[in-house]
């Protein structure tokens, strides 16, 4: 992996980057929330 040099043209791949981060962070947040809700439910029993 290399740093860009002056005058380099890079492909615009930002849509994949944004989508990957959104999905990954969404999965982790959803799992964290599911753990919280499951513990809350079992404590209420």
């Amino acid at each position: 992996m290399q740093l860009p040099q002056e005058g380099n043209t890079m492909p615009d791949t930002s849509a994949y980057y944004h989508l990957a981060y959104t999905i990954a962070l969404g999965i982790y947040a959803a799992y964290g929330l599911s753990l919280y809700l499951r513990r809350k439910r079992v404590r209420a029993k």
């Binding site: 290399q2 740093l3 860009p4 989508l19 999905i23 962070l25 999965i27 753990l35 079992v42």
Partner: protein, 223 residues
Amino acid sequence: MRISWLPTVAGAAVLGTVIRAAFFTPLEAKQGAAQKIFYIHVPSAWVAFLAFFLVAVASGVYLWIRDPRLDRFAESSAEVGVVFTTVVLITGPLWAKPIWGTYWAWWDVRLVSTLFLWFIYVSYIVLRGAVESPALRARYSAVLGILGALLIPFIHLSVYLFATMHPMPIVGKPSAPSLPIEMLMTLLLSLVSFTLLYFAFVRSRYRYAGERDAAAARREHNA
């Protein structure tokens, strides 16, 4: 509401990693922004391997001393490992498409063996739900937990053993890491923050399993 320190620290560390990756880490010369998927894909894969390795260790010790706490830990680590592997299997193809020109290649051993690993630990979770007796459930799932982890060294070595599109390790290799220091620092931060996230998830999942088993024991006692 009581705030638990480990999830708070882990969440802040992951947020810090994302901010550093997005705003304070340079773009890669040939791949552009898609290369930044690296800072979420690689640590997720590392944590998934760690999770399944610890499932195997806890399962092996469980079969020896039969302590239900080890079974609960293995159950927790396996579920968290499946979550991290799911992220690996989604972020990998999203990185591959702009770089390789395809989301997936069925002939690629690294990709397919990682998918198999995911299936094995999804089966582990299904198995646990299908066996009623706690002792039998723990024993069967311990065996599957150990056998599944045997795939981890194969997955790691697959890029050396077979022709694959997946790149060779650029950090976990005998020679020096082949990436600029700014990228290396972000990668190291991401490895630490996602490992913290793993421990936060496993601790919470382990506590849930303990509370669930205690509630089941209470119900049985009252019946």
